[in-house]
């Protein structure tokens, strides 16, 4: 996707250059005119959008039809997309985020954004399975009185078990934490890092049962687990209303709008490329016009900003008191770091490492090692800290080739004392040394290794349930030894339920079979990634968000 994108803009640049050449090369006007005309007659606008906007993708067609501008979306998480714009890494002409305040409170971010217009609104709310509301306690009887504090208390008491996008990568997750902190401190204005109430955050996170990076994944899991492991979903109003409408839920969700704790996504559409002002303006005018606003309200259940579209859908009309957004980077860093290193259920995972001979081909060995180095290293970027091994984490390195090798165990201490911080650095160093020492030879007994890892993880889980367990398999090739896929599936089906609840993430490089890897990850509730398309550090960031 990204490669194509880059290529397209190079092409566009080449066309523009062709156009510029018109003056300097008078003898060949016909050729240059022909080269320049596609750019003139086919105006386009590439847009980096946050992943919750996938449901707005039909706008590509609508915009094209109404304005002639070819709109092309690419999607990413809020934090990741923010970073791409901040660093200028994105080649997109425009950006469309649920919330751009992270970006726009940074002077560098302000400089990247040439123009901006808010397109629609959706507040972050708490949806609770209707039949479960009564069981949450008397505090929930009057919806207008429910605050983030009420939510945190129900979570602490083990009554509220919710799905939420990762607070370290998503706007919904992060703003929920901010809401909890604001409600507990009762502060009358924007929060700062000093306001973080660790106990309130810890209470709230006791109820965080369904973790994921994107709303589509969470919705699928929620539909499976509603009434069994989870009874609430914290997300945008639009998303929860859409789920209620979908008819796929076991029962509808009742929406609670936390009193004085509303964070509304306002979807600013931002111009990044000065050269695209004309296209941008056309698209924005259309998006804010009656047709698009009415469609957005009806199809995506977001609140329109154009009053003429207000009657398209009836939204709850109670006054929603907004939380002031804090531009304090210290607050964001503090909350996210605290979440990753202190509050979240710590991660325990087995890295199943393909050390077969074929890994010597291409740059595969070097790629794998450098990925492990970056995970155990110090990527200080906004999203880098997410990929990094965090405090309290447990890792088993399990190499395999002809057969499964011996696991090597690492455990990172909690970052509570100076000594521990020092110790954490030492262990990260050991992980990097381990990775550097990997040697590759022999065949690929992939399925056997994954099975062994699952059995071992489930044994670890039986001993300590306070961890989030998963298996991550890195491989470059077809399975050439041990069980085949059919035999693997049989053996997998025979595993105890606990072992089957552990997700397997697969990362393919080299000529690995996508189909088989996808099947395994799907079977186990994990995800498959392709390191040939996405750089390994980025893959790690994504995997972490599901853990």
């Amino acid at each position: 996707m990204k490669l194509k994108f880059g290529y397209a803009s190079l092409l566009a640049a080449a066309l523009l250059l062709g156009g510029c050449g018109k003056d300097s090369k008078p003898p060949a006007p016909k050729v240059t005119a022909a080269a320049a005309s596609p750019a003139e007659t086919m105006p386009s606008l590439s847009v980096l959008a946050t992943s919750d906007l996938r449901d707005a993708q039909p706008l590509e067609e609508m915009v094209k039809k109404a304005t002639g501008v070819t709109l092309k979306f690419t999607f990413g998480g809020t934090m990741e997309s923010t970073e791409q714009v901040l660093t200028g890494k994105t080649t997109a002409d425009a950006a469309w985020f649920a919330n751009a305040k992270y970006l726009l409170s940074d002077p560098q971010g302000q400089a990247r954004v040439k123009l901006q217009e808010k397109i629609m609104l959706s507040p972050i709310v708490v949806g609770v399975s209707e039949s479960e509301v009564a069981r949450l306690g008397p505090a929930w009887a009057d919806p207008s009185k429910v605050t983030w504090k009420t939510v945190a208390e129900a979570a602490k008491a083990g009554k509220l078990k919710y799905a939420l996008s990762n607070p370290a990568t998503s706007n919904q997750g992060y703003m929920a934490l901010v809401g909890v902190v604001a409600a507990s401190t009762q502060k009358a204005e924007a929060l700062t890092a000093a306001d973080i109430d660790r106990k309130a955050v810890a209470d709230f996170l006791r109820g965080y049962k369904l973790v994921g990076d994107n709303s589509t994944y969470l919705a699928e899991k929620f539909i499976e687990q509603q009434g069994i492991y989870v009874n609430a979903f914290i997300n945008y109003e639009s998303w929860l209303l859409s789920m209620n409408q979908s008819g796929k839920l076991k029962e509808p969700l009742k929406l609670f709008y936390p009193r004085e704790g509303i964070a509304t996504a306002d979807y600013p559409f931002m111009l990044l490329s000065d050269a695209k002002r004309v296209e941008y303006q056309k698209v924005v005018d259309y998006l804010k016009g009656d047709e698009a606003q009415t469609w957005l309200a009806r199809a995506t259940l977001r609140r329109p900003v154009n009053p003429n579209a207000a009657s398209a859908v009836t939204f709850p009309t109670a006054t929603l008191i907004e939380l002031p957004f804090s531009p304090d980077r210290g607050l964001a860093d503090g909350l996210i770091d605290a979440y990753l290193n202190e509050f979240r259920k710590p991660i325990a995972s087995t890295f199943v490492l393909d050390v077969s001979g074929s890994m010597n081909g291409g740059n595969r060995r070097a790629d794998l090692i450098s990925a492990l180095h970056s995970v155990a290293g110090a990527d200080v970027s906004l999203t880098g800290r997410l990929a990094r091994l965090s405090s309290r984490e447990r890792i088993w390195m399990l190499p395999f080739s002809d057969e499964t090798g011996t696991p090597t165990y690492f455990e990172l201490p909690p970052a509570t004392t100076e000594t521990n911080v020092q110790k954490k650095a030492e262990i990260l160093e050991q992980v990097r040394e381990y990775a550097s020492g990997l040697t590759m030879k022999g065949g690929t007994a992939l399925y056997d290794a994954i099975l062994d890892a699952l059995i071992q993880m489930s044994a670890a889980q039986a001993k300590d349930r306070n961890y989030q367990y998963s298996v991550i398999a890195f491989t470059d090739g077809e399975n050439t030894k041990g069980r085949n896929l059919t035999q693997f599936k049989e053996a997998y089906a025979a595993l105890p339920e606990d072992a089957r609840a552990i997700p397997v993430f697969t990362v393919a490089f080299g000529e690995a079979s996508d189909v088989a890897l996808k099947e395994i990850s799907k079977l186990s509730g994990g995800r498959s990634f392709d390191a040939r398309k996405t750089p390994l550090p980025a893959v790690f960031k994504e995997i972490r968000a599901y853990q």
């Binding site: 040439k114 901006q116 009358a188 924007a190 929060l191 004085e260 900003v305 008191i321 002031p324 804090s326």
Partner: protein, 382 residues
């Protein structure tokens, strides 16, 4: 040079208005006449013989005016071909260039216009200001909020939906970190949040700077700070009124957009240009329950065209004097010297406004304003 022309404009205006007091220009006018330079007159309204191509950077507020077909036609008739780009007002000063910069700049207000002038001076360029329109700074609010203010002795009604709010009392209340729920009779907005006027980012926007000017006036005992030490002192105190808001929108319409689309839950009090409200009322229906608060005193923001060279002066002269252009400006929410024209438009849009604006102050001098913005910028970074 620029003073000469400004003086000229004033003279022309006074002539056109039959000597009626165009008070928005009054203070500068006196100062400039005292300057004693004699203007050289070029008559506006004469049809041009050849087309003048001008490039300009313009603020969001004046963009619809330039897009108006009557304006584009009139420009053509008068021999102008414009190539305008919309950018933030306070980014304009950075575009001042010894050569190759825009021919004119049209920011949303006087602070930005003065920054452009200052940047031009530093670059040894001549820039000339023309006040084309003006608009008072107001607080967009809501009926329940205005009533709470009235109960607490901060506001009094002028007309239905229009209130005068005591600036000094409001600033004192905010400084004291009063919460909404602590106010008498606040049942309709019993909220834990502090009473704060939301503004756009003072570091980035003209309207944010206007708010700083008003707040410091109140904090300085209803007097404009004139010396550097006082300016630094009051600006430091005023920083709190920005910082405590948390994130502030940094484009001109951000604050008003929140007011219109999210409403009372996010912006009980939004500091805006009156023209934003008026322009909205002229094209769409205003939210029910809205109210406009006119701070006592407030500032009339001048919407200033800045000619960056000789070629672009004539357009400034024309825009600020041609009655057709002036009247079209009213259709985009601006006030002009002819106050009856504005009042009539407002009535047509079913928007009650304070026509008379009896309590106005001038913004502080450019130097004082710069000092204060610098102080707030520095303090905000901490």
């Amino acid at each position: 040079m620029n003073r000469t022309v400004k003086t000229l404009i004033t003279v022309v205006l006074l002539a056109l208005l039959g000597g009626s007091v165009f008070w928005a220009l009054k203070s500068t006018q006196t100062e400039q006449l005292a300057n004693g330079q004699s203007p050289s007159l070029s008559l506006p309204g004469l049809r041009a013989t050849q087309t003048v191509e001008l490039s300009g950077v313009i603020a969001l507020d004046v963009e619809p005016f330039f897009k108006d077909v009557r304006v584009t036609k009139w420009l053509g008739d008068n021999g102008f071909k414009l190539n305008v780009t919309r950018i933030g007002s306070r980014d304009m000063a950075q575009r001042v260039a010894a050569s190759g910069g825009p021919d004119f700049m049209f920011p949303s207000g006087i602070v930005a216009a003065n920054q452009i002038l200052d940047a031009a001076k530093r670059a040894n360029q001549t820039a000339t200001q023309y006040t084309v329109f003006f608009t008072p700074m107001v607080i967009a609010s809501w009926q329940p909020i205005a009533e709470i203010f009235q109960t607490n002795g901060l506001a009094k009604p002028l007309q239905p939906g229009v209130y005068a709010v005591d600036l000094a009392k409001l600033v004192a209340l905010m400084q004291a970190k009063t919460r909404w729920k602590d106010l008498k009779g606040s049942q309709a907005y019993e909220v834990n949040k502090s009473v704060l006027v939301s503004t756009t980012d003072v570091r980035k926007s003209n309207s944010g700077a206007m708010y700083l000017a008003l707040a410091t006036y109140a904090l300085n005992g209803n007097e404009l700070p004139t010396d550097r030490a006082t300016a630094e002192k009051v600006a430091k105190i005023a920083t709190d009124l920005f910082k405590r808001q948390g994130y502030q929108e940094n484009y001109v319409n951000g604050n008003f957009d929140d007011y219109i689309s999210i409403g009372i839950g996010k912006t009980p009090l939004a500091f805006i240009y009156e023209n934003q409200m008026m322009a909205f009322a002229l094209s769409k229906s205003l939210p029910k329950d809205m109210a406009i608060l006119y701070p006592q005193p407030t500032i009339a923001n001048k919407v200033v065209y800045v000619a960056m060279n000789e070629r672009s002066k004539r357009l400034g002269e024309l825009l600020s004097t041609n009655s057709e252009m002036q009247n079209i400006g009213v259709e985009y929410g601006f006030r002009i010297a002819d106050s009856a024209a504005f009042a009539q438009k407002a009535q047509g849009a079913k928007l009650n406004v304070d026509e008379r604006l009896s309590n106005l102050i001038d913004p502080p001098s450019f130097e004082t304003m710069s000092t204060m913005i610098d102080v707030v910028t520095r303090e905000m970074a901490q």
